[in-house]
């Protein structure tokens, strides 16, 4: 049997980076499975929590924005479904962001004792949030049944937008994770970022409303928030009918996502070298 020769020297890890990540691919699912299994063992309400959180927020937002503020839905879609179609990717994004942001510190003993590509940890925590996303998805189906709302062929494109949500959570997640290792009190900032995002993202209301208020130019700035594109996509896919995608906005969100992802990976890789010494 030919044995591979591994060379360790300063900066060497860089060259093997992606190949190594591929070699450890099973670990992503192992870590995700560990977190899910442990969570649902500890709390019986684990599954319930994944469902209740988006459901209750959706109900509140529907009451506030539709019943009180009287904002219009998109096309013929019931307001509740329109909100929930945005709630799904948002919850996924928010959970991923806070889980991946805290993931490195949470796995500190492992990082200081065993080698594996560090990138596995934050990515696995996004996968964990993805399972919650799937559970919460069942509520969407229930809502559609209740409102007798049938999706169109566009529903088939949902995986694409889910992947986009995945990437848009990963970029900032990696960034937060590496900052969190260096500055331990940064974790207090994460919930604030998430709360802030909940208000500025078009979750309780349609993007069309925002675009009409802001005008085309200002809206392009608004679309710098990666979640704007993701939510628009989700609504386009789920609501069908008259719901439309505003392409320039989506393009900007996409660019923002990719930029953040690249920055996140770069920062993470740079910080990674010293994790074991700092953590």
């Amino acid at each position: 049997m030919r044995r591979e020769t591994l060379i360790l020297e300063p900066g060497r890890a860089e060259k093997e980076y992606w190949r190594d990540l591929w070699r450890y691919r099973e670990l992503f699912f192992m870590f995700a499975w560990r977190d899910i299994a442990a969570r649902y063992k500890q709390t019986v309400v684990g599954v319930l929590w994944a469902v209740l959180q988006p459901l209750l927020t959706m109900i509140v937002m529907t009451l506030v924005f539709s019943n009180l503020a009287g904002l219009p839905s998109e096309g013929a879609a019931p307001y509740a479904i329109m909100v929930y179609a945005a709630m799904l990717p948002w919850q996924f994004f928010a959970n991923s962001l806070s889980a991946s942001g805290n993931s490195l510190v949470g796995n500190a003993p492992l990082i200081s004792k065993v080698y594996f590509p560090r990138l596995v940890i934050p990515i696995a925590s996004v996968i964990t949030s993805f399972i919650d996303f799937l559970i919460a998805f069942s509520i969407l189906i229930a809502l559609m049944l209740i409102y007798q709302f049938w999706p169109s062929w566009r529903m088939m494109t949902l995986p694409i937008f889910t992947a986009l949500a995945f990437l848009s959570a990963l970029g900032p997640g990696l960034l937060l994770a590496s900052i969190n290792v260096k500055y331990r009190d940064f974790r207090y900032v994460i919930p604030f970022i998430i709360q802030f995002g909940l208000y500025i993202s078009p979750i309780g209301f349609s993007t069309t409303v925002v675009r009409e208020k802001l005008g085309e130019t200002l809206f392009l700035f608004y679309a710098l928030n990666p979640m704007v594109g993701v939510i628009d996509g989700f609504r386009w896919a789920i609501l069908g009918g008259e719901s439309t995608v505003y392409w320039p906005g989506l393009l900007i969100s996409l660019t923002a996502t990719i930029t953040l992802l690249l920055i996140g990976i770069d920062r993470f890789k740079r910080a990674e070298r010293t994790f074991a010494d700092v953590i």
Partner: protein, 417 residues
Amino acid sequence: MDGIAIRVDSLGKAYQIRHGAEVRDRRLSEMLTDEFQRWFRRGGDRQSTLETFWALRDLSFEVREGEVLGIIGRNGAGKSTLLKILSRITDPTNGRVEIRGRVASLLEVGTGFHPELTGRENIFLNGAILGMKFGEIRRKFDEIVEFSGVERFLDTPVKRYSSGMYVRLAFAVAAHLEPDILLVDEVLAVGDAEFQKRCLGKMQSIAGGGRTVIFVSHQLPSVVRLCEKALLIEGGQIRTSGKPEEVISVYRGAGTSEAINVHLPPDPKKYVQLTRVAIENDDSANGDLPLSLDRPILVRVRLTAIEPSRELALSFALLTTEGTVVFASNSPNAGADVSFAEPGEREVLLTFPGGQLLNREFVCRIALWSQSDGILDEYETAPVSFVARETQRLPVQLNGLVAGQIGWQVMEPVCQV
């Protein structure tokens, strides 16, 4: 790289130590306030200084395939840093390491375990963390379970496991990784004696199977038993390498053989404490002479009481550097009362006769305790050896710790005609 499993070439690892500010747990808020202060004060008086600390410096050695190498050295000598680099946890600062084959490390096994998950689940999790493929774990699953001996608790969360069971399971997983190179830190200390034997056996079979083992341990006897070669690290550099027996003798010699005299800083939180411990020969007030094992040995302990202290007791134990108690004694058994009726200071002298010990390295442990409060203060000396005098060197080196007082009688040969 024929026949070489690991080649380490002028390896160095430096850490930045920050004085004035703790580098480990930096806080964003602190950094911001620091920046803020600097902004306004220009220069700021809380300037922290960086100091470079070389944990390893210019280390070079080779390990042949199938060799079992023992690494010994005192705490902080750089052993763990070396293992961390070899197991890729941290990057070297300079130099180069070539490793041929799959590496598995047993650095503190069980860190990959999740307490809520069952033994079965943890085998898969830990295997994956160590780099095993799912199919590979499933193939070896039965073997792992059998070796660990925890069949009955396979579906119990590992948080209910005893520490012994924990280590057994973790070792079983790591051992079945079938690595070409196995890095073993001080992990065997936890299991029971029977399991230790099996682990060492397994390690030997690993080595016998053409695998390379690097074994870091304080258990010098295991190093002698298992390793063909040993490396002594001191201050981040290789002090010596070669046959384990020879390296260990250098290591042992590295302890002091001079009289010990330690003054301990008073701790206001303790109402009574040890303030001085000294070990000397009965007549060596003259200091720098090596301690002689042929003469009576005197241990001086100074006690200081801030409050009246009743029911005090003092214990003394002489241990090997591996932690085996050679002998022990205490004040209640000796009928000595060390209590204080009022605040004050007193000295306690313990004497044991010369000629009892062999030329080994020992540690003295002194504990101050009371019936009601348990241990009040404790001190363990640095390793100290008692040297035989030039004139009394034995012609043949002896095994053991104590000089057995054995009478020899050799009869005249009887002629058989």
